[in-house]
Symmetry: D2
Subunit: 236 residues, 4 copies
């Protein structure tokens, strides 16, 4: 399933990181559960499994699939790197870039965005705070995801703990790039966190442990999607 | 196909790098050709495709498959990294480490060797010259591959241009580790290169462009395997 | 000599890189020559010697001195890194950041700018092309330096070969940051190159081999400063 | 003061890291105190200040001075790097390499050792545990320093907490390199720690917070040197 045109409907991407719970066959199972809830609720969802699991998820699950990183390199003699061509060949939809656990050089963000665009891959560039989020937006990725690293994996939601970060990011980003889709993440664990973030101007989410390590990932995704729908209805 | 026990028969591993010719479906096709010639000639062969292609090659081709790199990390919050668990889950046999195009810190080589061993993955640690090859051999990987970077991809074979490197490496490595399997690479393009390297004490090969970018990779592999058999017979 | 307030007069910073011609005692000699010509012509000049040479240049030469890089780290247990505190303690005026030969992560650019500002050090963030130059300008460094790496050290001046890069950068940067000082570099070897770049909107220069490796660095600096003065007079 | 020939007398090197207490003028003061105690007790001592402080310490204090890191690069276009030539030009005696806070690639350790040797700089290569310590010893640096990172800065001495690491390292290192000088570090805070480590086969120490962040660094150094002399006498 491709996703070449984003409306500004909420989007929820689940980052599988290198969690055991989301590796190998379990990556496929988790992606299926997420896709199913997306279908049921009508909310746009996506998944970001590990490189080794990309093709299995793409071929077995009808959901947009993102790599967690790509190297800004052409095909060639680059042993051990993640070529954009190899990610594209799996049928993936796009890639995360510059996640706080895999930060990259500014010059590589810029090159990766350009090369992904040429290859038809969407880019979601992560940033840790307001200024960096605005800076990367200048490079015109498809989406930017703001994730304060100090809240990642804590269960303390960015929308509750640091609503200013979301509100200010939206303001700063819009000043330099009116078209980019703005995601947020870090500590999102309840439907209320989702609702609040959307009210603050976020247009989507990059979520990891909140779903992937939840005792019942399906229930959490259902909460998130219900909250997204609630927001869409009230704001529509 | 697993390869848990090496005899000291020659082994030929083909590194697919991030070559277009060996990405996606073409990775599977190339691996099939290599496996077929290994079967026909009775020479041990292996392949090292890109991460995104590992599972396809493992499930469709009966040949030992190596990742090109792994990160020495446990499962967890390591977005964008290559977890050993994800490589293991593909059914791969092992991994290259520290290739000259993906050199890593000494401490990471050490951790990766230990974690791969615990996970049942074989390790092939690459080194650029005699001293480094001996140094990494102290860390007890399963195999070491000596590849002078200045000859990689040149078609000027290390066994012809710098036979001293192979001979000295074998001597230096054996002094610190009598059990490790010693591979060599860089510039190997003919059966004669293979034969000479085996005479100098190499026990196998890590080869990339010589096969993967050859007009007829099957013919080149056949030459290499024939040379390996010629050596085994005369030295037997 | 400190330089806490920039007017938008042309500024010429000479980057000593790790050139033998500009190491140790020769760093001090070269800095003296550059300072002397700055004084004589009334053009603002600065130098960026190696870390080990900073204090010698600062104490012996009356010229603004820039480090070539700093690590965005607090004081503490960071063996082998370049602490901002250690650079500040030499009496230096500021630091280059993200030079194409020492690119850093976006998050580190952001932290380094903030910490340098807190320590009273000026920042000159380098960028390879238009988009990156605009992106880093969002982070509000004091200066940005655009240097197409493919022209660095070639003697083919960016102002002649790629005038569009300077003109477009000025436009893109001004859109996101009206106050930043815009330097350019790469291949500048004659007074004409300097004059053209200033006409295109550059407000200064980051120059390396053009001066440091010239047979007569003093003569080249004199040419550059004369061209800067010629521009200031005609545009005044 | 140069130190071109080591006897196997105990040697104590104090690593200043990027501690505020050991930056700028305070680096010189601390080095003077350490040198004074070395002179008084007749124990060989050395210091490893930050790059920006090297020349001040070398010219004002009569003690062997080590850089905390060098880049394995020739002179040239390497903005922001630590050239061996620039370190040598300060008059320094040598350099640490691969400290656990500044780990480097195996290939860079190897190149740096060779280039330092050519430049007349001594090398102290750090390693985190037994196997890595033995591996780097194959590369023939002048000294190796074993520092379990989990004990660094804890005040829990490696000689007390993990005596096996010192004893096993000495055994493993001697097997591959009988001439290298073996230092140890991490958590050393008392004369007893020093004495025990020497009995276990260590020939010197790389110490940081134990001295640099002590309320009375001179008193701690006196204790260490007294313990070293006590050992030398009883073992002589």
């Amino acid at each position: 399933m491709t996703m070449n045109k984003f409306t500004f409907d909420p989007l929820i991407i689940v980052n599988f990181k290198t969690y055991s719970e989301a590796t190998g066959k379990r990556a496929v199972d988790l992606a299926k559960k997420i896709a199913e809830i997306g279908n049921k609720t009508g909310v746009k969802v996506g998944v970001a499994p590990q490189f080794c699991d990309l093709i299995q998820v793409v071929t077995q699950v009808s959901v947009p699939v993102f790599a967690q990183h790509v190297d800004a390199l052409p095909a060639g003699a680059f042993t051990g790197h993640i070529s954009i061509e190899s990610v594209k060949a799996t049928g993936a939809t796009g890639s995360l870039l510059n996640h706080s656990e895999r930060t990259i050089k500014l010059s590589d963000i810029q090159k990766a965005i350009i090369r992904c665009r040429e290859s038809g891959l969407l880019t979601v560039v992560c940033a840790a705070e307001v200024e960096s989020a605005a800076a990367v937006s200048v490079l015109e990725p498809d989406m930017v995801a703001i994730e304060p690293p100090e809240l990642i994996g804590t269960g303390r939601a960015v929308s509750k703990e640091r609503p200013d970060i979301i509100a200010n990011s939206v303001k700063s980003i819009r000043r330099v790039n009116p078209k980019i889709k703005i995601l947020c993440g870090a500590g999102i664990t309840t439907g209320d966190d989702v609702y609040t973030a959307l009210k603050l101007g976020a247009e989507g989410f990059l979520i990891a442990s909140g779903v992937a390590k939840a005792p019942d990932p399906g229930r959490v995704m259902s909460d998130f999607c219900a909250a997204a729908n609630r927001f869409t209805e009230t704001s529509g």
